[in-house]
Point group: C2
Chain length 225, copies 2
């Protein structure tokens, strides 16, 4: 790590302004850290299903269980927003390695009457909990119900918040303390606009207290994965 740390680049506002739009979008999108990768499933009034690719999914609270997402209304993602505002329901489906190239394809600008389920060869799976389609191939997924959206005047984006009304996960990945082991389910993460990663477990740590040593929650010797 010393060698990579040896030379540092420092960028400021005038550097950002001098960049091409594409270079800047790539750079700024990759600086915020590893991101949640989710395929958002919706359906419109005509019954056309839709998949949008999102990497701006953020935990808002546990009770009620709330998730936030950032929308750029001027992009291909408008179908997702329109469908959520109309039908109130949407699914978030995590992406594993076997789904990845199809998941990336779902970010393409398909014609209005084309469902990404068909174009990307995903299977729709329906639930009594809400109208939106799940992606059958996804192991970890949830149904949400629209709660509110907040326009962000700084750049015209929209921050949308929904409440989780259903969770579907493999039984084995729910641990004794409620922890859902999405790594064990093969969920991937993303940086920038297009860089995908799998994960390696480092550790789970117990609740931190001042001046106390950090202790592991995992019995590493029992963990033979």
């Amino acid at each position: 790590m010393e060698s990579i740390m040896s030379k540092q680049t420092i960028l400021h506002k005038d550097d950002f302004e001098a960049m091409s739009d594409r270079y800047r979008a790539t750079l700024i999108n990759s600086i915020s850290g590893f991101k949640s990768l989710g395929l958002v499933g919706t359906i419109n009034e005509q019954g056309i299903t839709n998949i949008g690719v999102f990497n701006s999914i953020v935990h808002i609270g546990a009770f009620p269980p709330l998730i936030g997402m950032v929308f750029r209304p001027d992009t291909v993602r408008r179908h997702t927003l329109e469908n959520i505002l109309t039908n109130k329901h949407y699914t978030i489906n995590q992406v594993n390695a076997s789904m990845l190239s199809r998941a990336h394809l779902a970010s393409a600008k398909f014609d209005d009457d084309v469902s990404e389920f068909l174009a990307c060869e995903f299977s729709a799976e329906f639930s009594n909990a809400g109208k939106a389609p799940y992606i059958k191939e996804s192991a970890v997924k949830m149904m949400l119900e629209y709660r509110m959206h907040i326009p962000i005047p700084l750049n015209g984006t929209i921050f949308l918040i929904g409440e989780i009304i259903e969770i579907k996960v493999p039984t084995d990945i729910i641990k004794q303390d409620g922890f859902i082991d999405i790594h064990e389910a093969g969920t991937l993460t993303v940086t920038g606009l297009d860089a995908y990663y799998s994960t390696n477990v480092i550790d789970r740590f117990a609740y931190a207290r001042p001046n106390m040593p950090i202790t592991s929650l995992m019995n590493k010797s029992e963990d033979s994965r």
Copy 2:
């Protein structure tokens, strides 16, 4: 993966309501996907520096370069929010493996007059760009300036948005197209409240177009990392 998929658990609102607060917080925090892990550095009017641990960092836009963060004002993180609202500046510092146990310790509830820099043995590093302290040990970091905050009435959280005014990264991890390779810098990711992961590169994909094959942006043969 077939075996892990074989038995599925489905949870609904009444299941969430029946859980203990701690079990539910662990469960809901771990369902949103892999999250950005950042140490937020601030300073108060008395010159006491502070570090807050955040996993709710989300990209809002590239031009202007905006980052959002979710605050729970009733927690130990209030110092961070107070300092940002007073001083307008804060840093987000990514966490690598050598920093991890100290980073987790920074989430402990230290006394008001104790700086997490001292308590967690991090070094403060200052910049002309703004008043907030960087964490010297962090390889990938940025200074932000407060732009706005939005109270979320659904649960009393606050969504705060800042503009990136400075980025400091190792020169080698900035690629030709502007991509900042935070994996190469050793940046970690987090799920739930306390589970930490390193990453493995799968691929970078070119911009997706309908009915076109997905192509790699990485020359795997040249990538010997």
